[in-house]
């Protein structure tokens, strides 16, 4: 039964992975055990548990994963508290996918890519990264700069170590905010690290993280001479419908839910800065 876009479908959470102290990754399939919807990297879906609420989350798994969807979710509110407390086997409702997604098959094709992520900001980028890894020969070099408060706060750390770091042609640059005994990697904030790494300004930058990280990373990239039409980011605002109607995610003449969430920097320059 699904005669209206606001009526969700049923899905079931088959696996829950504790990623960091406040981030869990939820594996979701349809009631038939198959992947419930087809998406492109960067798109989102509405998850809900009736009686608690409905909220929009980016799909962190790659479309090339044909078995299930994954959502990496930070515990920070009513719905997410509930999701963090539940157990595998729990049914949830799902609708989507929503948004434009990243231009993985058009603008990104053949380009050298630099991913810059902070904290839970890795969630939407992981979908793109694993898509790019799957179709590796379609893209140039791949650099991934990822930082978090501490080693324990790195989302998908095991996958990064076991898969991303071991792959040829992918350079992973991890950093944490403060030194700690069991960390021999880079220490420092993401914006400074990106500057230190000194990427070629012809590379395409794909960025997601807390506003403060975005702000200072951008300032650094501008200083280094990166063109604004070659930097992509993904926004997140409050949403109820995800159909461009409820009015919450309206920025200028765009709705983040349907015209975004992915925007190029030169596109954001044309919009009010209410995000």
């Amino acid at each position: 039964m699904r005669q209206d876009p606001l009526i969700p479908m049923l899905a079931v959470v088959t696996d829950i992975r504790q990623d960091t102290p406040d981030v869990k990754t939820f594996r979701v399939v349809g009631l038939d055990g198959k992947k419930p919807l087809i998406h492109i990297p960067g798109q989102c879906a509405m998850l809900s548990i009736p009686g608690v609420g409905e909220a929009l989350f980016s799909i962190t798994s790659s479309p090339t994963n044909e078995e299930y969807l994954e959502f990496s979710i930070k515990k920070c509110g009513c719905v997410t508290d509930w999701l963090h407390a539940m157990e595998p086997g729990q049914q949830v409702t799902l609708r989507g996918p929503y948004g434009n997604g990243f231009p993985v098959d058009t603008d990104f094709a053949g380009k050298d890519l630099v991913f810059v992520a902070g904290g839970i900001g890795l969630a939407p980028l992981r979908s793109v990264i694993n898509y790019v890894r799957h179709f590796r020969d379609r893209y140039g070099s791949v650099d991934i700069v990822y930082g978090s408060r501490s080693k324990a706060d790195l989302v998908d750390y095991q996958e990064i170590l076991d898969e991303w770091c071991k792959e040829d042609g992918i350079s992973v640059h991890l950093t944490i905010d403060n030194p700690q005994p069991d960390w021999d990697g880079h220490v420092g904030f993401v914006p400074n690290y990106v500057k230190e790494l000194g990427f070629d300004t012809g590379k395409t930058v794909i960025m997601c993280g807390p506003p403060i990280m975005i702000k200072f990373t951008l300032a650094g990239l501008m200083e280094q001479g990166f063109p604004r039409d070659n930097i992509y980011t993904t926004l997140e605002l409050r949403m109820k419908c995800a159909l461009g109607r409820c009015g919450r995610c309206n920025i200028g003449d765009k709705f983040v839910c349907k015209d975004g969430p992915v925007f190029r920097l030169d596109q954001l320059d044309q919009l009010p800065d209410e995000y």
Binding site: M1, Q3, D4, P5, L6, I7, P8, L10, P50, G51, V52, G53, E54, C76, G77, E87, G89, Q90, Q91, V92, T93, P210, P211, E236, L237, R238, K240, C241, L243, G244, R245, C246, G247, R248, N250, I251, G252, D253, Q270, P272, E274, Y275
Partner: protein, 333 residues
């Protein structure tokens, strides 16, 4: 064109109401509303209703769907409010235009089927204006109050009600009414145009082209300064369509419903990550930018306001879209 003597109006309404539910604008000026017609109910003396006819197509609260949660299992249960054919009589030209605006929001892909069902079930009978209210400014948006659209357009003089069907739905309705005879309405009195006190709004500067210039305009602070954030303007507005989706636990099932919301409220955009519109200035600006700039930018220049004047009448601090349009439209370069 058809006509019916005004003395036969009750019979006409009774005949319409015998076939489907009929709503007419009734009641005293300060409480006039579209009400289900009953024997003896008279048309209001007020020019327009306090709330617009939007309510009949996009109600303040409506059920979306129910859920039954049992352990880890969820069941989805259809719980749509029933919708049946209805006629709404006496919609003014301004309110009729609001449906063009709402249609573009709700009927674009993917279609909102709740709204669509009501639009399909509803027959709109408009009524031409002969005298303006002091808060009217529909002509600023190219609306002719003497020649309203709708499924059936109506004109009333002292003796007759004249009716013209504009759509198939309208034709069908009129063909079912035995008391109608052929007759042409006298030429509309266009002098009502000259009597609209607020008709000259400087709207040339609005629309998508000047978005950032208007957004950054420094006079927003002064305009928004006294706004209480009460949301009265959004409540009475025929084109405001922002909504919330909420849930209610009936004890047996979870009822998920949709209700009107307002961009004027402080928690409208509140997130755990912060507040993109932190003060009333941003919220106030959002409402007027949406009507005068954002909506036209994506809808071929059509404004998201119909000049009905309800917000002018209801704002407790007498701030309104006319003052905003005048202040911004005259002074931007």
């Amino acid at each position: 064109m058809k006509k019916c003597p005004v003395s036969q109006l009750d019979a006409l309404f009774a005949s319409v109401a015998a076939r489907q539910k009929l709503y007419i604008p009734a009641g005293e000026a300060k409480t006039a509303a579209f009400q289900p017609w009953q024997e003896g109910m008279k048309l209001t003396d007020a020019l327009n209703t306090v709330r617009s006819a939007k309510d009949l197509f996009f109600p303040q609260v409506e059920n979306l769907v129910n859920f039954k949660v049992t352990g880890k299992q969820i069941e989805i249960i259809e719980n749509r409010d029933p919708s049946e054919p209805f006629v709404v009589f006496g919609v003014r030209a301004c309110d009729c235009r609001s449906f063009d605006i709402l249609d573009k929001v709700f009927l674009c892909d993917p279609v909102d089927t709740y709204y669509k069902t009501r639009r399909e079930n509803g027959v709109i009978m408009t009524l031409a204006c002969t005298e303006p209210e002091e808060t009217c400014f529909c002509t600023a948006f190219g609306i002719d109050p003497t020649d309203p659209a709708g499924d059936v357009s109506c004109w009333m003089d002292g003796e007759n009600l004249y009716l013209r069907a504009n759509t198939e739905k309208g034709e069908t309705l009129l063909s079912e009414l035995p008391m109608l005879s052929d007759g042409d309405a006298p030429a509309a009195d266009k002098t009502v145009f000259d009597r609209l006190p607020l008709k000259n709004l400087p709207l040339d500067k609005f629309g998508g082209e000047h978005m950032m210039e208007l957004f950054k305009y420094e006079k927003w602070a002064g305009l928004a300064e006294s706004c209480l954030g009460c949301g009265a303007c959004t409540f009475v507005c025929p084109t405001c369509q922002c909504y919330d989706i909420r849930e209610f636990n009936t004890g047996d099932e979870i009822k998920r419903f949709r209700c009107w919301d307002s961009c004027m409220y402080s928690d409208f955009t509140l997130m755990s990550a912060g507040q993109p519109r932190p003060t009333q200035l941003e919220r106030f600006r959002q409402r007027f930018m949406h009507k005068l700039v954002y909506y036209p930018s994506t809808h071929d220049g059509e404004f998201g306001c119909v000049g009905c004047g309800r917000c002018l009448q209801k704002c407790p601090i007498s701030m309104n879209i006319v003052k905003v349009a005048k202040t911004l439209g005259e002074e931007t370069t």
